[in-house]
């Protein structure tokens, strides 16, 4: 009777011993597969998250360069001289306290250069782009703005704020998920003289999509030309948009999104737009770095601009799920280590308990390697059965493990956010990305790796435990029998 025949009979006819070993091996197998599936789920979730959030580059004016240009323009006008140069104006004012110099800039000085924006938008990899104007305060005509009755309005300009967009869906407030449409549609590049108002404003003034509302220059509300805009949408916010400055003019509910060129018309400076930000959407987020490099290589006056990564949310998500990847890797390592220790101890106990049987076989002239071969065969039969049972169980177990790990990660993140709530101020509205599901598929490769891992683990465990048999003198074993 060879060692395989004996091994098979031993496994089948000693069911309690076999089932216990089988359960341990199934557990090890499932933990290994879960660990691998979670690592894979991590990547899938990360990629999905990146695609969902999107990524892009924001072009802003460089503040240092602005100061430098302002100084240069002032020098051109001349010290102690009144005049204008490059959008900078100097004027001597007579006040009760004596002569004072007033320096101000018009839109042309602060505006991002449209030619530069268009050059950047042509870079391969940029799928779309948006231009947003600065917050432009204007006087509401034919409707009332929202006001706090308890607030002193004497120092407020009494207006509302317009933000012009080439494509409103790429506005930072919309991209962050804070602003969503309640009714109607968003502004597109083809729209002219249209606006999207807040739900609070619509409720208060009984405004609906299709209505027309007017605006004019708040400096001269009686005399300046009124520009009409059709309401094409009503938006809602998850939380109030941060005001640019104090006063009800800049309060979140009074912010009105318009087409790109409307704010300049409403404030009475037609053809003198003030483009404050440009946003370039990267089509394939995986090629983000390459697109960014290509954009940076475009020949424009970069001193004037800051190119800002708009993938902060993506990085946050990635770092969260990188933690999950680390946990998954740790799970695999711990499973291997714990699996080895548990299996080693089981096999040591096993061989010790089988001294009697080993002694009989040695007394009958069986070689040590034949006896050890039987133990190997028994372990591998059990490992194979464990592997076969793990096959159908693994997908469900992996899904449960991945779900658990991801929800633990999300909970942890939420906890940290709550702890930081009163300590950290954000300049922009934070997006709220919810993980709705985790894919934790088991692939063929995982089964192969797990199979190889189990073979290795079993071989090393029983090999280490079996050294005891190889070292033993037959008489030491048989002395208990003879």
């Amino acid at each position: 009777m060879n060692c395989l025949q004996r091994a098979w009979r031993s496994v089948m006819r000693k069911p309690i011993k076999s089932i216990l070993l089988l359960l341990v091996m199934i557990t090890v197998c499932l933990f290994l597969l879960c660990g691998m599936a979670c690592r894979n789920a991590d990547v899938q979730t990360q990629d999905t998250a990146r695609q969902a959030i999107g990524a892009g580059l924001r072009l802003d004016a460089n503040e240092k360069n602005r100061s430098k240009r302002l100084t240069e323009c002032s020098e051109k006008i001349g010290e102690g001289q009144e005049g204008s140069y490059g959008g900078v104006h100097q004027k001597k004012l007579k006040t009760a306290y004596g002569a004072q110099w007033m320096v101000w800039c018009d839109n042309s000085f602060d505006c991002l250069q449209i030619s530069d924006i268009e050059k950047l938008a042509d870079v391969p990899g940029i799928s779309d782009y948006n231009i947003s104007t600065c917050m432009t305060a204007v006087n509401p005509v034919g409707f009332d703005r929202i006001e706090d009755p308890d607030l002193d309005q004497t120092s407020d300009m009494g207006g509302v704020v317009l933000i012009g967009n080439r494509k409103m869906e790429l506005d930072s407030n919309v991209l962050s998920g804070n602003v969503t449409l309640k009714e109607g549609r968003m502004v597109t590049e083809k729209d002219r003289d249209v606006c999207v108002i807040s739900e609070q404003l619509a409720d208060q003034d009984h405004l609906a999509v299709g209505d027309q509302i007017g605006f004019n220059d708040y400096h001269d509300p009686e005399g300046s030309q009124v520009r009409k805009a059709a309401v094409i949408g009503i938006y809602q916010t998850k939380q109030m948009m941060s005001p640019l400055m104090a006063g009800d003019t800049f309060r979140s509910e009074n912010i009105i999104f318009t087409d790109l060129r409307f704010p300049e018309k409403a404030e009475g400076s037609e053809n003198d737009p003030c483009y404050e930000h440009a946003y370039f959407q990267v089509g394939d987020v995986d090629g983000y770095d390459a697109v960014k490099a290509a954009v940076s290589a475009v020949d424009i006056d970069w001193e004037r601009y800051d190119l800002i990564d708009r993938n902060g949310n993506m990085s946050t998500m990635s770092s969260n799920f990188s933690d999950l990847e680390k946990i998954s890797a740790l799970l695999i390592l711990i499973t291997f280590a714990a699996g080895f220790i548990i299996l080693f101890l089981i096999f040591v106990f096993w061989t010790k308990n089988r001294n009697y049987e080993i002694g009989i076989l040695l007394s009958l002239g069986y070689k040590k390697r034949n006896v050890l071969g039987q133990l190997f065969a028994e372990a591998f039969i059990t490992a194979f059965l464990a592997f076969a049972i793990s096959f159908p169980l693994a997908p469900a177990a992996s899904k449960a493990a991945a779900d658990h790990l991801v929800s633990a990660q999300v909970e942890q993140e939420e906890l940290e956010k709550n702890m930081d709530a009163d300590k950290v101020a954000y300049s922009t509205v934070q997006s709220e990305q919810t993980v709705v599901g985790v894919e934790a598929g088991i692939t063929k490769e995982m089964f192969l790796i797990c199979g190889a891992g189990m073979v290795m683990l079993t071989a090393v465990s029983i090999g280490t435990a079996g050294i005891g048999i190889l070292k033993k003198n037959p008489k030491d074993i048989l002395s208990e029998l003879v």
């Binding site: 006819r13 049987e357 009989i360 040695l362 007394s363 002239g365 008489k475 029998l481 003879v482």
Partner: protein, 205 residues
């Protein structure tokens, strides 16, 4: 002589000042049943394990067919020249009667079991379902399944009642006389020693 102890001395490594066996010389012939008698600690079982090739003498040598067994692989000696029967039967508990016999060698188990008086209805049963006497018969059948010329038995009747013990003794005698094997039995039993062809008292060495 098929098996011979030549100037064999032995002490346990832990008790170097105490010789268990000292200068033992004895030859065993095929076709005879020998009984090794003696008080506990006289070295009966030690001599048996040396003859079986489970251990090697401190001094002297064991010869099989005139050749020292230490010169060969002891495992091969146990496999081809020696069959062992133990007091506690030493059957493997997850194998059937027939399978346990198969472990002993290449001979078909059925005729041997038949000869040992184990009915066909028992052949596929687990050995633990058999009585002590039946288990010892299976152990002897396993010893006979090999082609070994020497059968060594350590207290084969120690765990059996009187009637069964006589059955086993008769069986061993038959094996010696009818099959021409050399049967060496370690025993405390005077009856068994008396029924052996040659009784050897260990204190005579």
């Amino acid at each position: 002589m098929i098996l011979e102890a030549k100037n064999v001395s032995y002490f346990y490594k832990s008790q170097k000042d105490k010789w268990i066996l000292e200068n033992v010389n004895y030859g065993f012939e095929p076709g005879k049943m020998y009984a090794l008698l003696g008080p506990s600690g006289s070295g009966k079982t030690t001599l048996l394990s040396l003859l079986a090739g489970l251990d090697i003498p401190t001094k002297g040598e064991i010869l099989y067919d005139g050749k020292p067994i230490a010169a060969r692989d002891l495992t091969e000696h146990r496999k081809h020249h020696i069959s062992l029967v133990f007091q506690s039967y030493n059957l493997i508990d997850y194998l059937t009667v027939a399978e346990n016999v198969k472990l002993g060698g290449r001979k078909a188990p059925e005729p041997i079991l038949d000869k040992m008086g184990i009915g066909k209805e028992y052949w596929k049963r687990n050995v633990l379902q058999l009585s002590g006497g039946q288990q010892q018969r299976v152990a002897i059948a396993r010893a006979l399944a090999s082609d070994a010329n020497v059968l060594l038995a350590d207290e084969p009747t120690g765990n059996l009642d009187e009637a069964t013990a006589w059955d086993v003794i008769d069986l061993l005698k038959k094996i010696a006389h009818e099959e021409g094997k050399c049967v060496i039995v370690v025993t405390h039993s005077k009856e068994l020693a008396d029924s052996a062809d040659i009784a050897i008292r260990m204190d005579q060495f």
